[in-house]
Every structure is written in structure tokens, then in C-alpha cells.
């Protein structure tokens, strides 16, 4: 192979700084999007199992729409098409004046997309807790909300820690799609390094290592969480 290796490039100014900065953006997108995905997804998961047919239909429709269109396409639509549907003032604000337009759009789009998947996990968790628990809660006079709050959700979350971890890691990995609307996160940074220096292999190696390191760290942390939250006398499932 006819290639001029130069691993030093990764540690040279400004490229090392770029990688760190890129990782920073990647983590920022992932965490912020996760907050949206987790809270909205949990609410939707509750709706999907609730007794009200209206709430169930709403959540089902949401899930079907958001998970059946590729994220890449959704990002584009949110960034370029959505603002044009707004009144002029709002449109201008969304496009220019709101803080970090691209980043914000990416966070919202990834968050909304992942919420549909979190919803399905939460739903399966609640279903795994079983109808008996719901009835037992209702039987002592708790309202539906109380039953979710004190019984179904605490148990469901314990059950779905491993798949939720996977969902978080999916967000982390998919945050790279934000580069398609101009957010210069980790993957975009490594591409930029490659465009500037033509040292593509080094740049991609760096990205690969950083992604794996973060993933393995998250997996290890979540395995601890899973172990800590496991109930006495039961087995934890081992995260992710």
C-alpha cells in the first residue's frame, strides 16, 4: 500500500484540539437528545399502555411516524423544510437567531426519533411487569397515575436497563448524522482532518478508538447501575 503514515498528526495542533472539540459536541448532542428521548419516550410508553384509547392511539401514531422514516431524512426535513412552514418571524428566529440552530435542530430531531424507540422499550418493560401488579395497585385504591408512578415504572425501568443502554449507545453513534446539517461533531472533525491533511486512516482510527472507548465506558457504568438497582434475591440481566 502506497501511503505515508503519520500518526503524529493526531497529536499535533490544531488536530488534537479538533478531536477533543468534536467529541465534546458529540457528547453534548447525545446527552441532550437523550434527555428528550428518555422523557418523551417514557411518557409515550406510559400512554401506549394507558387505559385511555385516545392516549394509546396518539402514542402509536407517533411511534409509527417517527421510527419509519430514516433519521437522516428527518434531520433534513427538520432543518430545511420545517422552518419554511412557520410564520416569517418564527422562521427567521429558528433559522438564524435561536442559539446554535444546527445543533438545536439535531438535538431535537435525534431526540424525537429516539423517543419512538424508547417508547417501545418502556412499553415492553411495563408489559413485562405484568397485569397483576397493575391490578394489585388499583385494588388498594391507587389511581392510575399512582400505579404508574409507584409500581409500574420503577419495576419497568429496572427490567429495561440493558435495552435502554443500547438505545443510548445508538443515540451516541447516530449523533454523527448531525454532520449532515453542519454540526461539526466527532465524525465531521475527523473528516475535516482528513480533508486538510489527507491523513484519512489516522483520522478514522482515532474516531474508531474514541467511539469504542466511550461505548465501553458507558457499558461498564450501566452494568454497575444494573447491578446496584437489582432487587435483593433476583438476578441482574447484565447491561447491554
Amino acid at each position: 500500500m502506497n501511503y505515508n503514515w503519520d500518526w503524529g498528526i493526531l497529536f499535533r495542533d490544531p488536530y488534537l484540539g479538533w478531536i477533543i472539540q468534536g467529541l465534546g459536541w458529540t457528547l453534548a448532542i447525545s446527552l441532550l437528545a437523550w434527555i428528550i428521548a428518555f422523557s418523551l419516550g417514557s411518557a409515550l410508553g406510559v400512554f401506549r399502555t394507558a387505559s385511555s384509547p385516545v392516549l394509546r392511539a396518539f402514542a402509536t401514531t407517533y411511534v409509527e411516524i417517527f421510527r419509519n422514516i430514516p433519521l437522516l431524512v428527518q434531520l433534513f426535513l427538520w432543518y430545511f423544510v420545517f422552518p419554511e412552514l412557520l410564520p416569517d418571524d418564527w422562521s427567521r428566529w429558528v433559522k438564524r437567531d435561536m442559539p446554535f440552530p444546527a445543533l438545536t435542530t439535531a438535538v431535537v430531531a435525534i431526540g424525537l426519533y429516539t423517543a419512538s424507540r424508547v417508547c417501545e422499550q418502556v412499553r415492553s418493560g411495563i408489559e413485562a411487569v405484568g397485569p397483576g401488579q397493575r391490578q394489585a395497585g388499583r385494588a388498594i385504591g391507587m389511581s392510575e397515575v399512582q400505579v404508574y408512578r409507584y409500581i409500574l415504572l420503577p419495576n419497568a425501568y429496572r427490567i429495561i436497563i440493558p435495552p435502554l443502554t443500547s438505545e443510548f449507545l445508538t443515540i451516541f453513534k447516530q449523533s454523527s448524522l448531525a454532520l449532515t446539517i453542519g454540526v461539526v461533531e466527532l465524525t465531521a472533525m475527523t473528516r475535516q482532518i482528513e480533508e486538510y491533511t489527507f491523513q484519512g486512516f489516522e483520522a478514522f482510527t482515532a474516531a474508531t478508538i474514541v467511539y469504542s472507548l466511550v461505548t465501553f465506558t458507558v457499558m461498564a457504568v450501566m452494568r454497575q447501575v444494573d447491578r446496584r438497582t437489582a432487587l435483593p434475591g433476583t438476578f441482574s440481566k447484565g447491561a447491554a
Partner: protein, 271 residues
């Protein structure tokens, strides 16, 4: 015969020349109406293919088109998947650590495009405004440097590629888009109302385009140089240029500039 050239040996062995092409570098290298790679750079590369056929004894060679992207062009040259890259790649010294460039085939430079109504003509008019730049391009580097050296207050919005940059300009997300002037003319020609946009200002950088071949293969590189010099000497180069730019099938209208004419003359080395 193939001599000591690894590239030529590879081509001879398989009877195939692999040409790396871009998909949307109009009019240099792009997917044409019939879904095949066409363009100015492709035509030039086909001339080199003819020269290779002659060198290897006259048998017809199969041409295989391999699409490349900004990320894959270097690795694919390096590992021998493609024999030459026929796109719109700027020749610079850093990149020469990885590949060899054939003579310059086009000269462009960084300019900005904006809506005529905006009143912007130079970068200096953009105080407090927003400019879009394709991430990782040499234009980005040049404009950032200009902004910094003049101490201008201009916000930069990175975009993924030229068409998204253009869409951002059309939807008023940005006030101007900076890129190679030739690409800007191409983008305007496709706009819904071309008269609403213009390319203005001075060159903020010079970007010579050239075809790329593998390093450490001086025999093959020389074959490429000889072919290109021949085209320039015979005037065929100007004809091919005219086919694509004066105006070309993509409606771009850019008559051969004096600078480029001079460049062709200088590079038309004698036998």
C-alpha cells in the same frame, strides 16, 4: 509495455483501468443523464486511457468507473483500487505527501455568492452577517483566514455539501455562500431564478485542480504528464474545455480565462 510501473502492471494484468469519479462535481465529474460518470475531468482521463492502451500494445482496455467521495479518494488511490482520480481536487503541498498530481487542468478560486438584493459584493460587506461554508474544504480555510486577518464579525455556518449550502442561501439561513467560483456558477445555473443570485468579489484563494495518481510510480505519472502536455500543445485541451464550459450541457457558461489559457501554454512542455 508496463515497465517498472506498478499501476501499468496492474492494468495490464487485468485489462481494466479503474477511474475514480465524483458523483456531483459539475461539470468536472458527475453522474450524467444516462446514469454514467461524465464531465471535463472524465474526458481528460479517457485521453490518458488511450495513451495507456498505446503504451501496453494497443489492445482495448475496459474502463471501470469507481465512485469516490472526499473521504475515500486518498485511501482508494493508496490501496490501488483506482488508478487515477478524475474529479475536482485542489492541488496543494500537504496533499502531495499522499499522492502525485498531474498538470493543472483548471484554475478556480474562492469567491462568494449571494442574493443580488442583499447588496453584498465583498466579504467586507458582511459585517454582522452569516456566511455558509462547506465543512473541510480549502475554501473554508481561506475564508476563515481572511475573516481573522481583517478582524471581521462574520458568523460561519458549516454545511455538509454545496447543494445544502445553496439551499441554506435560498432559504435565507445564510447571507452568502463561499466556494470555488466555478461551483458557484454551476449552482446559480440550477437555481429556480438564476437572475436573483450573483458571484462577486475578489479571489480569496487560488485553487488549481488536477488529476491524481499514485505516489512512487514515476513511469505512470510521466505517461499522464506527457498526455496532458500533448493535449495542451495541440489545442485539444481547449476544445474539451469548450465542450463543457462554453456553455456546457449543464448550462454553465465560463469562457476560457486568460489565466487558465496561460497555464495551458506554460504546461504544454515540448517533447
Amino acid at each position: 509495455d508496463a515497465g517498472d510501473s506498478p499501476t501499468l502492471q496492474r492494468i495490464q494484468e487485468r485489462g481494466v483501468v479503474s477511474i475514480g469519479h465524483r458523483e456531483t462535481s459539475i461539470p468536472f465529474s458527475y453522474i450524467g443523464e444516462n446514469n454514467e460518470a461524465v464531465g471535463y475531468s472524465i474526458d481528460l482521463c479517457l485521453k490518458i486511457v488511450e495513451a495507456i492502451e498505446e503504451q501496453l500494445g494497443g489492445d482495448k482496455l475496459e474502463v471501470r468507473y469507481v465512485p469516490v467521495t472526499g473521504q475515500t479518494r486518498i485511501p482508494l488511490i493508496a490501496n490501488g483500487t483506482i488508478d487515477m482520480e478524475c474529479g475536482s481536487t485542489t492541488n496543494n503541498l500537504t496533499r502531495q505527501l499522499q499522492v502525485e498530481y498531474l498538470p493543472t487542468t483548471f484554475i478556480t478560486g474562492t469567491k462568494i455568492a449571494s442574493k443580488v438584493s442583499s447588496g453584498i459584493t465583498e466579504l467586507e460587506d458582511m459585517e454582522g452577517k452569516i456566511i455558509g461554508l462547506a465543512a473541510g474544504t480549502t475554501n473554508e480555510k481561506a475564508i476563515k483566514a481572511a475573516i481573522e486577518s481583517k478582524g471581521l464579525d462574520i458568523k460561519i455556518v458549516p454545511v455538509k455539501d454545496h447543494s445544502q449550502g445553496w439551499l441554506a442561501l435560498e432559504t435565507d439561513r445564510i447571507d452568502a455562500y463561499g466556494s470555488d467560483d466555478v461551483l458557484l456558477y454551476g449552482l446559480i445555473s440550477k437555481a429556480s431564478d438564476p437572475s436573483a443570485y450573483h458571484v462577486t468579489g475578489r479571489y480569496l484563494s487560488f485553487d488549481p485542480y488536477a488529476l491524481m495518481v499514485q505516489r512512487n510510480d514515476s513511469t505512470f505519472e510521466r505517461l499522464g504528464r506527457v498526455t496532458m502536455a500533448g493535449l495542451m500543445r495541440s489545442g485539444e485541451m481547449a476544445e474539451i474545455y469548450a465542450k463543457w464550459f462554453e456553455p456546457g450541457p449543464t448550462k454553465i457558461n465560463m469562457p476560457l480565462s486568460d489565466t487558465l489559457r496561460t497555464a495551458f501554454e506554460i504546461q504544454a512542455l515540448p517533447e
